[in-house]
Amino acid sequence: MKRSKTIKTIAGVILMAVITFAFMPAPKKITIKGSDTMVLIAQRWAEVYMKSHPEVALQVTGGGSGTGISALINGATDICNASRPMKQSEMDQLKERYGSLGIEIRCAKDGITVYLNESNPVKELSVKQLSGIYTGKIKNWKEVGGPDAEIKLYGRENSSGTYVFFQENVVKGDYATSCQTLPGTAAVVNAVKNDKYGIGYGGAAYSKGIKQCMVKKDDKSQAYAPSAETIKNGTYPISRYLYMYLRNRPTGELKNYIDWILGPEGQKLVVEQGYFPVK
């Protein structure tokens, strides 16, 4: 009898604490971390939203999709930007820590663009050729119709969602050891811009000062450049969704912000920044 009373007392105290915490107001400061590919659009969203909602503080940082997902799991960020879907192992970690599978929000589309130096005469590559180049089987530009020069590979670090997506959908194997890993899409673009025989990959929004390589699904297919139309109709072979992940269903200011991103104003900014809208 006494034992039963003890158990009920403990349970009662804990229940009170749980309810008190659960209904505490959500903070007005929202942290956003993750994909470097999405940093441009995430910063733009934040700038514009804070102008019309000065009571909300939005803090945006990059670091890569993997870094953002880790931050979401350990509670260091409210929103994770990711340029790839969450892995099962990451979802398991989120389940273990928060009892939630996370909320996935598709907020934009992107065509992974293959960057070439503007002086490079190569105009198009097939997915198979890209795989050969990035696995190190094709080492010279002349093997794909270019000059007799060694191909210089530039890519992202393995915490990047673009790195993972490109590996799973294009490279389909291990990256060549000669591939220089750089800490952001901007760095990849800059490297290719300054290397006559360089090749890189990354988000379409970063394609400035370089040549976009047209990509074909296979040797017999037509090559396409990433554009709103080719990504929407699926003819450009390396397109993907960009995601926002939350631990739980959004409420309060977080929900307002997400709704705004998915609304006309947020999606308009997507197009302005060189990405593609989800609808």
């Binding site: 034992r3 003890t6 158990i7 403990i10 349970a11 804990i14 604490a17 749980v18 915490f21 659960a22 505490m24 350990n74 509670g75 260091a76 099962q88 389940k95 273990e96 820590r97 928060y98 009892g99 939630s100 599978l101 909320i103 670090e157 194997g173 291990d174 050891t177 000669s178 220089q180 890993t181 750089l182 800490p183 952001g184 760095a187 800059n190 490297a191 811009k193 300054n194 290397d195 631990r247 739980n248 269903r249």
Partner: protein, 564 residues
């Protein structure tokens, strides 16, 4: 990857572009996150900048293009060196290091537990993972508890690269079960449930495991072939070849500590799980596992779970059964910041080996030339050879967790776990249902060995009585069921540190009151016995537990965990 040096003159504009782009961005920026490489770069650059240039020296008379070329040669030289260094360092990136330390304060409310409270290191583990190539990993995880070093994980994992579906594990790893595989660093209620720690002591086992996880599905199937004895402690009756008393004393084998197989029998485990997504509500994982195992009977008699005689065993090396099955479910609900309900139910037959003793082989009688040899004359004696039969107990156990996240930093968990080691014995039969058999032995020789004065051997006739002792005695709690409530609160202080407070309330199964019990001065039961009584002596004070009541054995744990 040697960079070619062009001999063409370069304009001022080209130079500035190349310098600002290639060096500042493409060269240095990529290193900003690699502290080690950055340090190495500094180590290379600074001495070279400070040192008197010799080979690549530019002179005031050089034209600008010549100076640029000279500088570019130097940079290319650095790049080559860096490429070599990066190649070396990239090998280090294949090694991943993680680990955690759990330090805790323990307070027992049980009178027989002494000391009543203590500080302890519960776990101190470092996990080293080496990913040799994509899909191949080696894992080594020692545990450094003070005075008790052990290897927790040591395995190689090979993921097949074609279908990306199968992976093969070899070595020592977690047995396939939900709570076993749930990391000790993530346990909401600090320790695993009674049914799990009983069936899968030490959690790990040595063997092979095949995992099947078809991509883009949520199915996972695990098939493991294991020694199966890891974590158990056995009493093997036939180990000591020397015995001055005529019979071999039993020998304890700690299969967990020694990582040895107690017998030649291998155990098979199969587990399958499937994860369902329930839209924005959350998710549901369901699964089942089966265990088909054997263990050496190590006895000449086998009993049923209700202590009735099953059969005589002619060879103690014969196997007895360890077969069970379990179902599990985990429901994740996105309710007020996350709510989890999870549980597992396991039932089956768990065979417990017995033990037996045999007469020792006589020491070799040597013709001893030493002058002080003495022949002892041993009187006729009677020796009892102790034996315990093997038994196959029917058991069942389960646990249920309710876990609620409270904000980002707090978590509350409550668990009820229950384990009934013998479902064939009701509480009013515990302590009464026993098995005992006495067999008169034949007179045999007794051998005496004196190690102090070299070898001295004497023989005489003695009478040996073989006794198969009772398994369930007045002070045996082997068949008592135990249910435990655990309330735990976790505060996530930072990404690496969490503080946990847990209070556990074990509630034992009660049995009819003991009667006719007497004790000697050491608290040992000596009188006529019924019921279940367990005596103890702490600091010279004797007492006893009468399992007619719920024994107060609550405990509180305050734990700090640092993880990296």
């Amino acid at each position: 990857m040697k960079r070619e040096c062009t001999k063409e003159p370069i304009s001022q504009e080209d130079n500035s572009v190349r310098h600002s782009g290639l060096i500042n961005t493409n060269y240095f920026r990529m290193k900003t996150k690699k502290v080690t490489l950055f340090a190495l770069t500094l180590g290379l650059l600074v001495p070279m900048m400070l040192a008197k240039p010799v080979l690549a020296q530019t002179t005031p008379t050089d034209t600008l293009p010549q100076q640029v070329n000279t500088l570019r040669d130097r940079i290319n030289g650095f790049e080559d060196r860096l490429a070599t260094a990066e190649g070396d360092l990239s090998k280090l990136t294949k090694i991943k290091l993680s680990g955690y330390i759990q330090a805790q304060y323990f307070n027992y409310e049980q009178s027989s537990n002494y000391p009543y409270n203590n500080f302890m290191i519960r776990r101190a583990r470092i996990k080293v993972t080496y990913e040799a190539t994509n899909g191949v990993a080696f894992v080594l995880e020692p545990d450094f508890q003070p005075g008790n070093f052990s290897i927790k994980n040591a395995y190689a994992q090979i993921n097949e690269p074609w279908l990306k579906t199968f992976s093969l594990w070899a070595g020592k790893f977690d047995r396939p079960d939900y709570e076993v595989e749930y990391s000790s660093s993530n346990l909401e209620c600090l320790e695993r449930s009674k049914v799990i720690t009983t069936l899968y002591p030490d959690e790990k086992a040595i063997g092979f495991k095949l995992e099947v996880m078809p991509p883009k599905t949520h199915l996972k199937v695990q098939l493991a072939l294991l020694n199966g004895n890891e974590g158990y402690t056995y009493t093997d009756g036939n180990k000591n070849p020397y015995d001055p008393n005529g019979v071999s004393p039993v020998n304890t084998i700690n299969a967990a500590q020694n990582n040895v197989d107690f017998d030649g029998f291998k155990d098979l485990m199969l587990r399958a799980t499937y994860a369902f997504k329930l839209g924005s509500f959350g998710g549901l994982n369901i699964g089942a596992h089966g265990y088909y195992g054997k263990v050496k009977a190590n006895a000449y008699d086998l009993l049923n779970s209700d202590y009735t005689y099953n059969k005589a065993i002619s060879n103690p090396g014969t196997s007895i059964r360890r077969n069970w099955a379990g179902v599990e479910a985990q429901l994740y609900m996105d309710v007020l910041g996350g709510l989890t309900l999870k549980g597992e139910y396991i039932f089956g037959i768990n065979g417990a080996p017995g033990y037996y003793t045999t007469q020792a082989n006589p020491p070799t009688v040597t013709t001893n030339s030493m002058s002080h040899d003495t022949l002892f004359q041993v009187q006729k004696t009677t020796t009892t050879i102790s034996k315990v039969p093997a038994i196959e107990r029917n058991f069942m156990g389960y646990y249920v967790y309710l876990i609620k996240n409270v904000g980002k930093r707090n978590q509350f968990a409550v668990r009820y776990d229950y384990y009934n080691p013998n479902t064939k014995i009701n509480n009013d039969s515990i302590g009464y249902k026993r098995y005992s058999k006495s067999v008169s032995g034949t007179p045999t020789n007794k051998w005496t060995y004196s190690s102090g004065t070299n070898m001295v051997v004497a023989t005489n006739a003695q009478t040996v009585t073989n006794t198969t002792n009772a398994l369930s005695t007045i002070n045996s709690t082997n068949d008592l069921a135990l249910g435990t409530w655990t309330f735990a609160w976790t505060y996530f202080f930072s990404n690496n540190i969490k503080i946990q407070l847990a209070y556990s309330i074990p509630i034992n199964e009660t049995v009819p009151a003991a009667t006719g019990v007497t004790y000697n001065t050491n608290g040992v039961v000596t009188g006529n016995k019924t019921g279940v009584i367990k005596g103890y002596t702490v600091n010279g004070v004797s007492g006893f537990y009468d399992y007619n009541n719920v024994i107060k054995q609550n405990f509180l744990t305050l734990r700090i965990q640092a993880k990296f």
